[in-house]
Amino acid sequence: MDILIQQVVSGLATGGIYASLALALVMIYQATDVVNFAQGELAMFATYICWSLINAGLPYWVAFLSTLAIAFVGGVVIERVVIRPVENAPILSIVMVTLGLLVICNSVAGWIWTYLQKPFPSPFSANPIKVGNVVFGAHDLGEIEVTMLVLLCIYLFFRFTPLGLAMRAAAHNPVSSRLVGIRVGWMLALGWGLAAVFGAVAGMMVAPVLTLEPNLMGGVQIYAFAAATLGGFTSPGGAVLGGFIVGVVENLVGTYVSFIGTELKFTVALAMIIVVLLVRPTGLFGTTVVKRV
């Protein structure tokens, strides 16, 4: 029982990381119908920036927040400069552009920071936290708190602020949005900025566990895709929940099904998602989108 609780919490911690990145993917997908394959690599890049800031002597949380700001601006700039020109191109061209971004981020990071693994600090204490007989990793708990806080902020932003409302409107109905005076192009750029922020959070939270290297987010991104698909690519809430589900299932399967162990749990998580998709093709919380032609 204690082990079960421990493993669930640890699953929630990684799940939060998948959730953040999945949310980033879904936000961009909803607004522009584009799957941003570079999302994970942008997150990795942001994490390196945080590492450099910390190395330059900034306190952790200052570096953390500065990185979020830099990621936001970076996301906006990338949308304006790289995505905007291909906005009306066929979907495959846009996919190619995001794949190009992926490769560029990866090799530029390797070029600047080398491919050697770098330890990345955790802002949380190294001592485990003991509740009764159950032992929790402090980083796991901190990670959960940070992701929850970010998710709460973003929920409040979209739900209660005029700008959040305008961004939702622009994503769902660009034509009507223009007719009420919303600058749809800028809303999409802001969406890329926010997505980059979620990605950066995910990167900085996972880096202490995996240690920092240019391929930091490769696996995470696949899980995030799985989470987004599981939740239905059209539902931000679903993507978040999908992230937590994938995290927990991955962890429990790895722990309890002895012949699977850590090597195969990746496969099992993905197999589970395929099963869900066979039963519910739109994902658990997705809705069928009728495409206007």
Partner: protein
Amino acid sequence: MNALLDVQALEAFYGRTKALHGVSFSMATGGITTILGANGAGKTTTLRAISRMVRTTGTIRFEGEALERRATEDVVQLGIAHAPEGRGTFVHLTVEENLRLGAWGRRERGNLKDDFERVFGYFPVLHERRRQAAGTLSGGEQQMLAVARALMLRPRLLLLDEPSLGLAPLVVREIFRILRTINQTGVSILLVEQNAALALDLADHVFLLETGRVVMEGPSDVLRKDDAIRRAYLGY
């Protein structure tokens, strides 16, 4: 001349096809003008041209300012509200959120309370449904929402594209009664309609569009008596 809206030699293009072939008209401040015409005559396209949603040549001036080089969002900021064909409802959002968005392009953003009170006064049913997703409204209610959303801009000019489409006669009469009230508060209206009888009753000036050209124009009481109009559009 103190025209509110002045359109000259307007041509509009969808890809390579030309939908308007040199439309010219102007409307005075404070009036209700209607554009009549059969399906495909170019009524919607004319409104889209004003809102800069279609490629055009020719000139469009609103209170003396040229609109041709503006983006749709900037036209809105001049105080031109457009309730488009198909109503343009944000179906995922609530009625209240739809209305909030209507005020987005307005110069003074603050205090929406008076505006909410005003549109809920016109359309009490929207107040009842304010927390409901707009996509769950009936057609008539969505049309009311489209007009209400446009009013949230506090527009100088209201562009309405077939507000009567698909609605029960009683609902249509209600909406048109409210349009008259709105006009009396100083909002000029450019109304596109297929329901000629209703439109002629409401409007003070009429333009008749046929395959992308203005073929007739005049005060509505004059055109109502015109034989050709009677036969083609009023059916008696």
